[in-house]
């Protein structure tokens, strides 16, 4: 037991401790498991082989997102038979074990980390897992949410618990006001650039500070989503009025008196005054700019006003080698200004930036313009709900008029496990979270940016500083 002031993480941890066996990891109760087609089949196979059942099907939901094609035709006729088999396996497993599935034809289908919050499944104080590292997204609600491997998926299905050793706590405070044109994505890219992709290994990050509190829930999800890219086990943001306002009235949120009682409980969660963190870091929001990644790791980022770094300036031999390798893969020369880098493709979507606010931001930039003739660009809403909301607001029309493709929800080109893939050598401005070699297709080159930066790059054909972008208020004229 921890006495005295506690952090948000410690409160959630304590509320979920089933057992603390001597010399072993603690056994943590899991409130919600999200499942998708890629990392679950072997877990169900394991259950069957051992003659086990799902302990609590009501604490699980499933959807298809990673493999699913993002065109209507592609969905009606899935060419990739292995992908089709993975999806039909999920269908069968959900049926056999009594788990609610949001299938391709469901109005709730979407990327697993987008639909959880949307449906009000994700709530403050919960423990949430999914066989997917970006489960950290849900931490934006003050839930302890982390990615797990398939053996652990099986473990949670069978026992609704997980053996876990306690993480260290790391408070990152972003204080002050963001400059106009600087987004949640830029905050998190800046943090990863600063602390490195292993900068928070073993830690749960609590993002705090006035700049974080001023973000919308969508922005907070973007920040927590990429905490894994800094090596963290999870990211957390304390729940507040914005959190409650977002959750109110969602499908699985409590109502009436139960809602009031729930809010009262959630209000107890924020870190107590005087609680100690293992590590702390403060960042001045006013120093942040729009960022672009130039390398093959999410830590390889720089402000749009900067240039590709020179490996010769690396602090040591290992860093120099990894820089050279990255630049070679990315086909970039040291000293090239980032806004001079020309691109071939644009991908707006993913669990990092596929929510309604992201699409609004991109549409604001794209309105009245045309996508550069050298670029092919697509917008992939994160869920069916995001898609219909965007269509109600006419965002689809803005994108289509500007020459973007408007797609069906899924992970799409975030990881190219479906037909949306970069060709070798193609260069993409992407709102996703990983720029590893081959992530978006073998030989493909990924630059991570915010939705605004991606939309502007689509139009200009190269990266541009969106802070100087002349926003137009009228729609694009045909063949303008």
């Amino acid at each position: 037991m921890i006495n005295g002031p506690k952090t948000l993480f410690e409160k959630i941890w304590q509320q979920h401790l089933v057992a603390e066996p001597e010399g072993e990891p603690s056994l943590l109760y899991i409130d919600l498991q999200l499942l998708h087609e890629v990392t679950s089949p072997q877990a169900f196979e394991g259950l069957r082989l051992a003659g086990r059942t799902v302990r609590n099907p009501n604490r699980c939901i499933a959807t298809v997102d990673h493999n699913i094609p993002t065109t209507i035709e592609g969905r009606l006729n899935i060419v990739d038979q292995i992908a089709a088999r993975q999806m039909s396996t999920l269908r069968q497993n959900c049926k056999d074990f009594g788990i609610e599935l949001y299938d391709v034809d469901s109005p709730n289908q979407g990327i697993v980390h987008i639909i959880g919050p949307e449906l009000g499944l994700t709530k403050p104080g919960m423990t949430i897992v999914c066989g997917d590292s970006h489960t950290s997204t849900h931490g934006a609600f003050g839930a302890l949410a982390f990615g797990i491997g398939t053996s652990e998926v099986e473990h949670v299905l069978a026992t609704q618990t997980l053996p876990q050793s306690r993480a260290k706590t790391f408070r990152i405070a972003v204080e002050g006001d963001l400059k106009p044109g600087v987004t949640a994505k830029d905050i998190v890219l800046a943090i990863i650039g600063k602390i490195g992709t292993d900068g928070a290994t073993g830690c749960v990050i609590e993002f705090a500070g006035s700049a974080i509190r001023s973000l919308s829930m969508e922005g907070r999800m973007t920040v927590c989503n990429m905490s894994i890219e800094a090596g963290a086990r999870a990211g957390l943001i304390a729940p507040d009025e914005k959190t409650f306002a977002y959750l109110k009235g969602r499908r699985f949120s409590p109502t009436g008196a139960a809602w009031e009682a729930a809010v009262a409980e959630w209000k107890k969660l924020p870190t107590d005054e005087g609680a100690k963190f293992d590590r702390e870091l403060t960042i001045d929001a006013a120093t942040l700019e729009p960022y672009v990644s130039w390398g093959t790791s999410p830590g390889m980022v720089a402000p749009i006003t900067a240039a590709v770094p020179n490996p010769a300036d690396a602090p040591n031999e290992i860093e120099r080698k990894s820089l050279e390798k990255a630049l070679e893969y990315m086909d970039l020369k040291a000293g090239t200004k980032l806004d001079a880098i020309e691109i071939d493709r644009v991908f707006i979507g993913s669990c990092t930036n596929g929510r309604i606010e992201d699409l609004r931001a991109a549409a604001r930039i794209a309105r009245g313009y045309k996508v550069s003739t050298r670029v092919s660009a697509m917008v992939v809403p994160g869920s069916q709900a995001v898609k219909s909301q965007a269509e109600n607001e006419g965002l689809d029309k803005i994108f289509i008029a500007a020459g973007f493709e408007w797609r069906e929800p899924g992970c799409s080109m975030c990881l190219a496990m479906n037909p949306d893939i970069l060709a070798p050598g193609e260069r993409c401005a992407s709102t996703s979270n990983r720029n590893f070699e081959g992530r978006q297709g073998r030989g493909g080159r990924t630059h991570l940016v915010s939705p605004e930066m991606a939309a502007a790059a689509a139009i200009a054909g190269h990266f541009v500083d969106t802070r100087n972008w002349p926003v137009r208020n009228e729609a694009a004229k045909e063949n303008a």
Partner: protein, 206 residues
């Protein structure tokens, strides 16, 4: 899971830092629904070019390292996606030990569950092993999980640490679910009480 005590084997040097799970097992192989058979696809994009022609410069294509059960690599091995397929691929290929200065968290736990011993040594020690494995023909190491030591016949000796519980599971080949079910009573009691916290229920039933 097969119990594991001591591994003696030639050593494959993978001289790269931040080896991510997308490289260990590229995503095109994640569509399979089985747990086995991933070894052929380990480091697929590094082993062969797009046309499927093997790269003779890649360590696993080098006949000197055929049959290696120990892999030595740079820091932050296993970063990136949580895919357990990375551990399945390494194990299926035959690796039982990976030595590196640091490992990413999720990979660390996935490896343990699949009978792979992860050995953390200092940057200098790893550099020494990397050098020896690259230059000395038939260079072998013995990794003992019982003594928590790494030794060669050439004066290298190092101790490493493994979480005591993980070590016990690896040594005994124990399954995690079975271990947890020892606490079933505590779990039943906890869950009955925890379910009263309706504000933590996934699907609130009014």
């Amino acid at each position: 899971m097969e119990p594991i005590r001591t591994v003696t084997s030639i050593v494959a040097p993978l001289d790269r830092v931040n080896v991510d799970t997308d490289q260990i097992i590229p995503k095109q192989f994640l569509k399979r629904i089985e747990r086995t058979g991933y070894g052929d696809f380990l480091f697929y994009d590094w082993r062969a070019n797009a046309a499927g022609v093997a790269d003779p410069g890649f360590v696993l294509n080098d006949p000197r390292y055929k049959g290696a059960r120990i892999l030595v690599a740079g820091k932050n091995f296993g970063c990136g996606a949580s895919r357990e397929h990375a551990a399945w691929a390494l194990a299926d290929y035959g690796f039982r030990v990976v030595i590196a200065p640091t490992f990413a968290d999720i990979f660390f736990s996935n490896a343990g569950k699949n009978g792979i011993v992860l050995v953390r040594l200092s940057e200098e020690q790893v550099a020494e092993l990397m050098h020896k494995a690259s230059t000395k023909p038939n260079y072998q190491l013995t990794v003992s999980l019982e003594d928590l030591t790494v030794n060669d016949n050439d004066g290298f000796h190092a101790k490493f640490e493994v979480d005591a519980f993980r070590r016990y599971c690896l040594l005994e080949g124990l399954d995690d679910i079975g271990l947890t079910l020892r606490h079933e009573k505590a779990l039943d009691t906890f869950e009955a009480k925890h379910n009263e916290n309706f504000w933590l229920k996934a699907k609130v039933v009014q």
